[in-house]
């Protein structure tokens, strides 16, 4: 091993670090340690002059290891790695000590904080000695994309990618495109027609030369990795020729909740208790009639059916409140004299134009009645013989505290959106995970909401969580943009800091295979050892931690590196 020549740079971060850490003292203290060639501090290491300082020193002092003691590596590790690369040394010969988030920001005693900074820098110095140069790798990307689900999200993504001249395989389980949106009459809050929106879109998808639509088709198996996937499809029970593609978009959507499990609502027992989707069917047919062909005089709309209730689903379906208000407009237009009851648990009008839509709807002569999900659900029962209505809803009205009975002829249940029955098979096939609500988990809930932890697999639309049409469309276009970017590059970088199996130590217990969250480890039956697919591996280190034989090493996180760092941190005894 070559003799380390380490350069240490301590950052002031303006006053962020310097007000709580004596930067000069740190610089001085670590400057004399073995292997340290120079030790400097600067006001902002991440600034261009700061980076230039590192680059110049590497060249003039022939440094082969660099340490920056500054903020979190999440923020600037890449900045400094790039600086190292510019100066001609391997970026993995760099190490960062976090003396801001882990030190100056969280302590109030300047002396103690300074000592801690010294400890952290010493840890980095001990660790960086054992850093090894690692080479960046990339894989080529097949320009075709597989989209699972022919709803508005899947079709939007398909058109976006196909319009850029790239091939799309659009897979749909049912016999038609359009998804749930195809069942809607009008959309909120502008009351524009869903049909006029979705029909031309279906036409464009079906006629697009770059989109191959598979109807009545299921996904049997997916293999491969980012840029190079293969899939087997099943059409009407018969297996289709294998297709290859570079990226996957899951747009499988959600399905309406079946309210017959809620005894209080008598769905299935009372013919005029219907779901919101069934009411959409009536609206599209153009007539609001009860089972007996009469116009209802009293229509009740019950919110949160299967939503926000621990017994069914704890989450909010997001769109039902606005759909219910949309129903008010449609009912009021068709039946000007009808009494309309909005039986709600909370009115959620979070989106653009939604609060205004709510305010506008309150003028439509409707009666808002609030119920408490936690206490009891409204109870629907048959009316008395001398009542001039079909049914009565008994409920405790929350804002008045009064037990009331509401005369109704038709009840619309605003059903929750829930996962499809086969969602677990889908996620297993494409290698992503589900949250407790059976929604697909995104890579980062805020900063990367369309990607997944599996490279090349993206999620769009409601399968990621309930959302309305604009949000689904935006997500679909975002995923399309991400995929087109990788196709345009022709290749994608893959993780460098992967796990490696030392075959002579591996006992073949396969513990690593069972714990790997990315399905990156497989078993070589011939050699009876585990094998890591370096393209799928994200370097999380789980397998290395579990391996009873100590056969797995994570690159850049070797035992030696980690133990040296710990020794370094513990070396000073105050």
């Amino acid at each position: 091993m070559e003799e380390p020549r380490i350069g240490v740079y301590v950052c002031w971060c303006g006053t962020n670090i310097s007000k709580m850490v004596d930067v000069e003292a740190v610089t001085k203290e670590v400057g004399t340690l073995p292997g340290v060639v120079l030790s400097k501090n600067y006001k902002y290491m991440c600034s261009d002059p700061g980076q230039d300082l590192i680059i110049k020193d590497i060249k003039s002092h022939n440094l082969n290891r660099v340490i920056v003691a500054a903020c979190s590596p999440r923020i600037h590790e890449l900045t400094f790695r790039n600086a190292c690369e510019k100066a001609g040394i391997n970026p993995y010969l760099f190490e960062m000590a976090n003396i801001r988030e882990q030190d100056s920001w969280v302590h109030t005693d300047r002396t103690e904080a300074t000592k801690k900074a010294i400890d952290l820098v010493i840890g980095a110095i001990r660790r960086v000695r054992y850093h090894e140069p690692l080479q960046k790798r990339s894989v080529n990307v097949d320009p075709a994309t597989l989209i699972i689900g022919g709803g508005i999200s899947g079709m939007t993504a398909a058109l976006e990618i196909a319009n850029a001249g790239k091939k799309v395989y659009l897979l749909e389980r049912t016999d038609h495109l359009g998804g749930q949106v195809a069942r809607f009459d009008l959309t909120f809050p502008h009351l524009s027609s869903a049909r006029q929106m979705i029909r031309p879109m279906i036409q464009r998808v079906e006629n697009h030369p770059m989109i191959i639509v598979y109807l009545n088709t299921e996904l049997k198996e997916v293999s491969g990795y980012i840029g190079n996937f293969k899939a087997r499809l099943v059409f009407n029970g018969a297996e289709q020729p294998e297709i290859t593609f570079g990226n996957i978009i899951a747009a499988v959507g959600l399905k309406p909740f079946d309210p017959s499990v809620i005894a209080e609502y008598g769905y299935g027992k009372f013919p005029d208790v219907i779901t919101s989707l069934e009411f959409e069917d009536k609206l599209r047919a153009g007539r609001i009639l009860t089972k007996y062909g009469k116009e209802p005089r009293n229509v009740a709309i019950i919110h949160c059916v299967g939503s926000r209730n621990k017994q069914y689903h704890e989450y909010c379906s997001r769109v039902c409140c606005m759909v219910a208000l949309k129903f008010v407009h449609e009912i009021r237009a068709a039946l000007p004299d009808a009494n309309i009851f909005e039986i709600y648990a909370d009115m959620r009008a979070y989106g653009k134009g939604h609060e205004e839509f709510y305010a506008m709807t309150t003028h439509k002569q409707i009666i808002f009645l609030m119920y408490d999900q936690q206490k009891s659900l409204p109870l629907i029962r048959e009316a008395y013989r001398d009542d001039d209505c079909n049914m009565l809803i008994e409920m405790n009205e929350l804002l008045s505290g009064i037990d009331i009975e509401v005369p109704v002829d038709m009840v619309i249940l605003m059903v929750n959106m829930e996962a499809h029955d086969n969602v677990k098979e889908v996620v297993r096939t494409i290698g992503v995970s589900l949250c407790g609500n059976q929604f697909f988990i995104e890579k980062h809930p805020k900063l990367d909401p369309v990607a997944t932890t599996t490279g090349g697999v993206f999620i769009v639309g409601t399968c990621q969580g309930p959302k309305d049409i604009p949000d689904s469309v935006a997500q679909a276009k975002a995923a399309a943009a991400r995929i087109l970017a990788t196709i345009a590059q022709g290749s994608v970088p893959v993780e460098v800091t992967t796990a490696v199996v030392n075959e002579s130590f591996c006992c073949g217990c396969q513990t690593c295979i069972s714990v790997c969250p990315y399905s990156a480890v497989s078993f070589d039956e011939a050699k009876k050892v585990s094998v890591v697919n370096e393209v799928l591996c994200k370097g999380c280190g789980t397998c290395g931690g579990c391996c009873p034989a100590g056969a797995i090493t994570s690159k850049h996180f070797t035992d030696r590196q980690i133990l040296s760092e710990i020794e370094g941190i513990m070396s000073m005894s105050y």
Binding site: F341, T362, H363, I366, I367, F368, L399, S400, I402, P407
Partner: protein, 376 residues
Amino acid sequence: MSTRVHPELRNQLMQFGIGDWNACYHCGTCTAQCPLSEEGFLFPRKKIRLMQMGLKDELEASVEPWLCYYCGDCSTSCPRDANPGELMMSLRRYLTSIYDWTGLSKKFYTSELWELFFILSFAALVVISFLLVLPSMGFHFTRELTAEGGVQVNAFAPIHVVETFDWAMALVVASLLISNILRMYYKIIWKYGNMKVSLWVHIREFWLLIFNFAVQPKFNKCDDKRYWLSHWFLMSGYTIMFIVIVVYLPWFQTERILPIWNPQRLLGYYATFGLLFGLFVAIFGRLQKKEIKFLFSHISDWLFLAMLTLTAITGILIHIFRINGMPLGTYISYIAHMAVLVPMILIEVPFSKWSHLAYRPFAVYFQQLKKYAVPR
């Protein structure tokens, strides 16, 4: 026991001046800042909720609308501009029509044409009585003055005939009003909520009724004290006038011109001042529309103020013309006075806005009874 929702109540209430009540989102600011709202009798929010929900029975059993004196603070502080104060005012109109068993109140509140027709008919009957009926009974118009130089009022408007008529009118109004109050009692105390109030409590708390009628202490709990004063002047002036005209007419309507410090004249002047002051505040306020309580004027508000003002002015004119020996002016003012006074008392007191003179103190009394109610 569940209370039935009456969705059609919405349409009925709208005829009493209630506009868009879905504006309220039940923050409760109105109730929190109302100095009159108290535990067990919370308003306005709770009453607005009953209206929104169409809970007709609960609403009709409510005593709270009468406990509100409409200072308007609730409307000022309402973050949704739902006008809780005006909603309470509209509720009082609705309740007046509900207590009234004849159905006339509802007619008057919901159609100004009906109200005008009745007012004008009564006025016409009064004029006809003075011009045709009384002369046929031997009473006449005379230019002769009394020894003191006053007008001979009793020759034209014979005191015993007018007094008899007064008593008859008072009897009719009282029986209407009392029957309505009984209905109010039935809805608020008797029928509702499975409760019982002992006879002793009824007797013990009766003083509250008298006290509240005379002083309106609840009104004085509002933060703005000015209107309590102007209202009290108006009320006391009106009450004094009513008592001396209806009960002590022979003492009040004299041909002799008494000295200015005589109680008859002093009481008359005080009552006139009280009426004019109260009327000025109310009319000026409603025209200026600076205070929220004066912002919305139902047609019934204006009709009432107009009739009371006309009554006061014609009464003043009678007095001036009589003591100055101007027979023609006296007689014309007298007829005009009666032509306004009679419909005002016959229509406003049992059927319209003036009925609050009874409902408000009774509401305070009923509220007290409810506090001492025990489960049946």
